[in-house]
């Protein structure tokens, strides 16, 4: 029944196009055609987590622009793989939009033994949202003011040094740092960055590689000091923070969020989604919001974003090998 109705509509499509062409339909035919049903924004985190807030912010801002119901669908679990798989298998019609870290989607190819989908082929970037760093933090009471101070002290401490990580990006940042400087610090893994705070401030841990939301909040509270960021270039959100590269440890670990759709989504629909997100991302309010997450708003042309995504897929293969992360599954 449903199928019959759809094919009927499809066969009627040329007639609609004709009607539009001769000026019977107001506005552009495409703008009319999409969106004509509810839009589902997929979030890979449970409701209420920090990242969920980011997704919901965009869903909230999308609602008045598209004038349709925008539902946030939390498909949490398996490190985001459940959501990734769901979106990859969704109909490529623009009604399922994945708002997530494109870097994480790229990394999933290498973090799991059996990645659910070949993400490079399955996903199309529709719009970019931000770029954000990971941060090297130390206790605010510690004497280390620069990465060089820290490195020197860690060399003296040898295998008695310890550091905290709580995410794959942090692990990789930690490995690169150790590889380049030759220090022998022992990694201590945490489930979340806040779990490591007490041990960082009690001197049990010498440093940590943490996400910007946690690092910035704790620096503001005067408990931690950020020594460097993992991005290749400094961030507009925190221009005073040097990069790891400037400190002699070359790396460019930039996390970036994007609105993604399944490959095969029609170009006009992608363009439409891009236009919406560009409008939201370029607002002053969004800039402030994204800065509070430690990142900069980031607007990139669609094809460049896709290229960056494919490059990330490749790079993460090397990172995972470098950090000796055992793929899961």
């Amino acid at each position: 029944m449903k199928i019959a109705l759809k094919s009927l509509l499809r066969s009627a499509a040329p007639a609609f196009a004709l009607a539009a062409a001769i000026g019977m339909a107001p506005g552009g035919a495409h703008a009319q055609a999409y969106p004509n049903q509810d839009i589902r924004v997929i979030c890979a985190f449970p409701p209420g987590s920090g990242a969920d807030v980011l997704v919901r912010y965009f869903a909230e801002k999308l609602r008045p622009i598209v004038n349709r119901t925008v539902i946030v669908d939390n498909k949490a679990g398996a490190g985001g793989n459940i959501a990734t798989e769901f979106v990859a298998r969704a109909k490529p019609d623009g009604y399922t939009i994945f708002v997530h870290a494109a870097t994480a989607v790229a990394a999933s190819m290498h973090l799991y033994k059996n990645p659910p989908v070949d993400v490079g082929k399955a996903f199309q970037m529709a719009a970019t949202i931000n770029r954000q760093p990971f941060m090297l933090v130390v206790d605010a009471k510690s004497p280390y003011k620069t990465v060089a101070d820290l490195t020197e002290a860690m060399k003296k401490k040898g295998d008695q040094a310890s550091y905290a990580t709580a995410a794959p990006t942090g692990k990789i940042m930690g490995e690169i740092y150790k590889n380049v400087t030759g220090i022998k610090a022992v990694e201590v893994s945490y489930k979340t960055a806040p779990d490591s705070l007490n041990e960082l401030t009690s001197g049990k841990l010498d440093y940590g590689m943490h996400d910007p939301v946690f690092a910035l909040a704790q620096q503001r509270e005067g408990r931690l000091r950020i020594l460097a960021v993992s991005t290749g270039k400094r961030l507009a959100a925190s221009p005073d923070l040097p990069t790891m590269t400037e400190s002699g440890i070359p790396m460019d670990l930039t996390g970036w969020w994007a609105a993604m759709v399944p490959a095969g989504t029609p170009q006009p629909v992608i363009d439409q989604i891009n236009k919406w997100f560009v409008q939201i991302v370029s607002s002053e309010e969004t800039k402030k919001f994204l800065n509070s997450f430690g990142g900069d708003p980031n607007i990139m042309p669609i094809d460049e974003a896709q290229k960056q995504f494919l490059k990330d897929v490749k790079d993460w293969g090397d990172y995972v090998k470098l950090a000796k992360i055992e793929p899961q599954g």
Binding site: K2, R40, T69, I71, V72, D73, N74
Partner: protein
């Protein structure tokens, strides 16, 4: 000849042994490590052995100390209740929340031996309307209301 004096204890002991054994069998590939440098397998294997040990004690006690009998297991209620849940899982996306509610009501009703089909269907319709209005329209939950998607 051994006689089971406390079927409840004996049965519980057997369950514990089975759970502990499952923990050992499915955890056999996990690296155990040492007490000062524990691997991912250390804690689960230790737990599994402890559970088996308690299982042995409890089942041995079931053979020596008098205890209450096991209540009769009625297959009908548990079967239909679990069937209703699984059916809902398969149906929700296919036929939507409204129709699923009716079907859950009907399957669940057969967990009892007397079924009033008309009353059950009316109840199912009521549940369907309530669920759709509250969860889909009221709270915007990502559940298909009608016919699925």
């Amino acid at each position: 000849m051994l006689r089971v004096k406390s079927p409840q204890d004996f049965g519980a002991g057997i369950i514990f042994i089975v759970v502990g054994a499952a923990g050992l069998i499915f955890g056999r590939e996990l690296a155990v490590g040492t007490a000062s440098r524990m691997g991912p397998g250390y804690f689960p294997i230790l737990l599994s052995y402890l559970i088996i040990a308690i299982g042995l004690v409890v089942s041995a006690r079931g053979l020596t100390l008098e205890g209450p009998p096991v209540e009769r297991i009625h297959l009908r209620p548990i079967f239909f209740v679990l069937a209703a849940i699984l059916a809902a899982g398969f149906l929700l996306n296919m036929v939507g929340l409204a129709l699923t509610s009716v079907l859950v009501a009907i399957i669940a009703a057969y967990a009892r031996s007397q079924v009033n089909l008309l009353e059950t269907i009316l109840l199912g319709i009521g549940m369907g309307i309530f669920s759709v209005v509250v969860f889909v329209y009221g709270l915007g939950q990502p559940l298909p209301a009608w016919w699925g998607n």
